[in-house]
């Protein structure tokens, strides 16, 4: 995807300079996938088109804050997801979230809304970014290596454990391997991540999954 990123960065640069042609090109390049993303959820073409339109406007409004190191496609999808959840909430399809567990207060908050706690502000700065960057780099390298070597079982195993949260037993059954193998893959994967965080002097306590008691040979 690296060549795509270079093309995207040039495109964004031209858009920042106010180039109409570049903006048309970005729309042509991304509208189809954004539309498919919105329509899969709404099942209505007209509303989905509105969401995509709002997403493009949202992108232009947020352009001064867009960090070119981030994938443009992922950035557009995140804006689209935000517009979509907002739309679903207004339509009453997405339940409103009561404030904390105090249903008795009758208070309501928006998911990912602006009213964040002080602790979030305290941890939302450079440290958090460093932790995330370390994880992204480390996982990215690991996944690329698995793909290069054709270690598909290992990749699928870790993806089911980490992304989907499946239990070892389910993963073993899905992939046709033993629970022992799943436990070993998990142990090696978590040990590697912990060591990377430690090397970079970062706090592993902020990743709850790294504290799962899953010694080699044991089952989660």
């Amino acid at each position: 995807m690296s060549s795509g990123s270079q093309v995207d960065n040039l495109l964004v640069q031209r858009i920042r300079e106010g180039d109409d042609g570049a903006w048309r090109e970005l729309i042509a390049r991304y509208e189809g996938r954004l539309l498919a993303f919105a329509e899969s959820r709404l099942r209505r073409r007209a509303s989905s088109e509105d969401i995509v339109q709002e997403s493009f406007i949202g992108f232009l409004n947020s352009l001064p804050n867009y960090d070119g190191r981030r994938s443009l496609e992922s950035y557009l999808f995140s804006i689209c997801a935000y517009k979509l959840t907002d739309h679903l909430r207004r339509e009453g399809r997405r339940p409103t979230i009561p404030l904390a567990s105090s249903r008795e207060t009758g208070g309501e908050r928006q998911v990912e809304g602006a009213a964040r706690g002080a602790s979030s502000i305290a941890r939302s700065g450079e440290r958090r970014e460093l932790e995330e960057k370390a994880i992204v780099e480390s996982l990215g390298e690991q996944i690329a290596r698995w793909k290069e070597r054709g270690d598909w079982t290992k990749l699928m195993c870790v993806e089911l454990l980490v992304v989907c949260g499946w239990a070892n037993k389910e993963v073993a059954a899905r992939l046709g391997i033993s629970e022992q193998q799943v436990a070993n893959f998990k142990f090696d994967f978590l040990a590697r991540l912990k060591s990377i965080l430690k090397r970079r002097d970062l706090n592993e306590d902020v990743f709850p999954e790294l504290h799962v008691d899953d010694r080699r040979g044991g089952n989660a």
Binding site: S40, A100, S101, G117
Partner: protein, 138 residues
């Protein structure tokens, strides 16, 4: 009995990153189950406190998503069997909504291209043969 909903799914629900069917199912369960709503709130509070999860980071940065070119090859069935199997797993088992959207977009583009090729082919057939049309004598 329906399968219990995992915290990983609730995180995906907050980010709209699960398959549409999964999201709809979770919405229904959230309405009916206050305990599930409490778990969702706990995740929001945890996020507010700045605690990460690997799952969120992996999904947000789309660390294992195949590139668009690879998705195109997948559609054409032009990948190695093992690569093809991984992409199918990522889409069908993991349910990556971003890759599903890309795939649908590529399918739609292929349909449009085929439709425009069909129009062009028919035009060419017509133009190359219309001169042979014989009119019936009045």
């Amino acid at each position: 009995m329906s399968r219990p909903i995992l915290d990983h799914q609730l995180e995906g629900y907050l980010d709209e990153s699960l398959s549409a069917d999964e999201l709809t199912a979770i919405e229904g369960r959230l309405r009916a189950d206050p305990a599930l709503m409490d778990r969702l709130l706990a995740i929001i509070r945890r996020r507010d406190a700045g605690i990460h999860t690997l799952s969120e980071i992996w999904r947000r940065h789309r660390l294992s998503c195949p590139g668009r070119e690879q998705l195109g090859s997948y559609l054409l069935g032009a990948m190695d069997d093992s690569d093809q199997a991984y992409v199918r797993f990522h889409i069908e088992t993991v349910g990556c909504r971003y890759c599903m959207a890309n795939l649908e977009d590529l399918r739609e583009a292929a349909r449009r291209e085929e439709a425009s090729r069909t129009v062009e082919r028919r035009r060419r057939y017509f133009e190359s043969s219309a001169g042979y049309l014989r009119r019936r004598p009045d």
